[in-house]
Amino acid sequence: MTMTVGVALVLALLSSSWKAKSKENEAIFNKRAILAAVKDHLGGMDPKTMSDEEVLEIFGQNVTQMALNMDGQEIDAAAVEAAGHKGGMAENIDMKKEKKKPEAERIRPLFVYKKDGKEFYILSIRGNGLWDEIWGYVALESDWNTVAGAAFDHQGETPGLGAEIKDNTSWAAQFKGEKIFDNQGNYVSIAVVKGGAAPSNPHAVDGISGATVTANGVGEMLERGLKYYLPYINKVDDSKKLSLN
């Protein structure tokens, strides 16, 4: 009895006194992941090794964020809170929660990264790998078409195989320069092709040998995840068609 109370007290005390800092760490971790998608445009800094202060500084100065609903409309903080994400900022949107909702009710974060007069749009996507969920951020250039960078992460993919989507930076670097719309403005996304994609094809990248399921998962995640942003993209750039396939 005494022991239970004592133990509970100690844990409660520790947990509550460190909660703020833990939350802050989590936020920095997320911001770092978002910045990893535009890592070639951070002015030579590596999002993996830069300090927490640098992450906060870049994120605070160069990034604006907004939350979108499935019709491509920007929604306010209260609506984000109502959707179940404490804090109400786009970065507070928990994609894991969103993935469980019916498609029509989902909301999506959009981050706009500005650097030297150029704008990059960072989209958040989430899907399924082989063992568990995978997720990532894809940065588009200001034409809303060309990929400026992508970063992926996973819950439990096999190290050395599926986990390469995160660990092998040269694999993720393949996405740079790929296009998600064809010349007519139809949405085609980017496929991950087993056995290697033709270098001339701007809508496909190479798969990972030994990790076909994870690689296919990435392809499917991109196809479905980027489509959620089409209504908004169509609104700001009407050369991009709102294809509903």
């Binding site: 022991m3 844990l11 947990s15 460190w18 833990s22 920095i28 096999t158 050395g160 030994g210």
Partner: protein, 258 residues
């Protein structure tokens, strides 16, 4: 996990009989750091190593050892949990009813593990992310429970603390050795994920030995590529197996002839 549960139920009894003569040993006046105490610390490092001799805690040893840095954090966490759960259990050992002793032990272990988890979340969030599941699984790590049952329930606090410390370090030692071999041969790096990452060998200019270089030392290693098997948990099984083989060749008294 399945493997863990089986070991948990089977191992402590076996240990009680075979591996721990100290359990029955009792002295009136004990020196703070006498021969017996030193033995408690050093025995688990080699002759009574929890992983290679008692074959406990293999599950997490396979899972977290693909790179050195998280393994070191894991090792420190287990040393902490093992030492202090032994200490606290030993302090209250005479007040624990026999029937519920496992539950009491679990409360102590779970508390310490939660403290470790909170500490990591507070001070090293990326490592917490990397290890998250396995930190929680320290609760089921048979080394911790095994030492409580086999030693702390029957010995005085100071000695129990040393025993926990020794066993934690014994486990951590294997973890770091295995992780070192796996990271260097599997990834060509050392301490990846920490602030002092060293890139040793690999196909780009970032590495000390650049296997695709056109001049210098790298040209001698143009045949080299990382061993992808080493990244997989199965490699840890092989390394631990070879470690056990070498250890028993050197020290034949460890070989169980029965």
């Amino acid at each position: 996990m399945a493997e863990n549960t089986i070991q948990e139920s089977a191992a402590p009894e076996k240990e009680n009989i075979v591996l721990d003569p100290q359990v029955v040993e009792k002295k009136e006046r004990e020196p703070l750091f006498g021969k017996a105490e030193r033995k408690l610390l050093t025995d688990p490092l080699s002759d009574n190593n929890p992983v290679t001799v008692q074959v406990l805690g293999v599950c997490s040893a396979l899972a977290v050892t693909s790179v050195v840095y998280p393994s070191m954090v894991m090792a420190v966490a287990v040393v902490f949990v093992c030492a202090f759960s032994n200490l606290f259990t030993s302090i209250i050992r005479n007040h624990i009813p026999k029937q519920v002793r496992m539950i009491v032990q679990l409360v102590i272990i779970a508390t310490l593990v939660t403290i470790v988890e909170l500490t990591l979340k507070r001070f090293s969030y990326p490592v917490y992310k990397e290890l998250s599941v396995y930190i929680g699984l320290i609760i089921t790590n048979c080394i911790v429970m095994g030492r409580l049952e086999a030693y702390a329930m029957a010995n005085k606090p100071w000695r129990s603390f040393l025993d926990g410390l020794g066993n934690g370090i014994g486990y951590g030692l294997i973890l770091v050795v295995v992780a070192f071999i796996r990271e260097v041969t599997g990834k060509g790096t050392l301490f990846a994920g920490s602030g002092i990452e060293i890139k040793i060998i690999g196909p780009s200019t970032e590495y000390a030995i650049n296997t695709v270089a056109t001049s210098g030392i790298g040209t001698w290693f143009s045949w080299y590529s990382n061993n992808n098997l080493m990244v997989l948990p199965a490699a840890a099984m092989f390394i631990i197996g070879i470690y056990i083989w070498i250890q028993r060749s050197i020290n034949p008294k460890l070989v169980d002839i029965s």
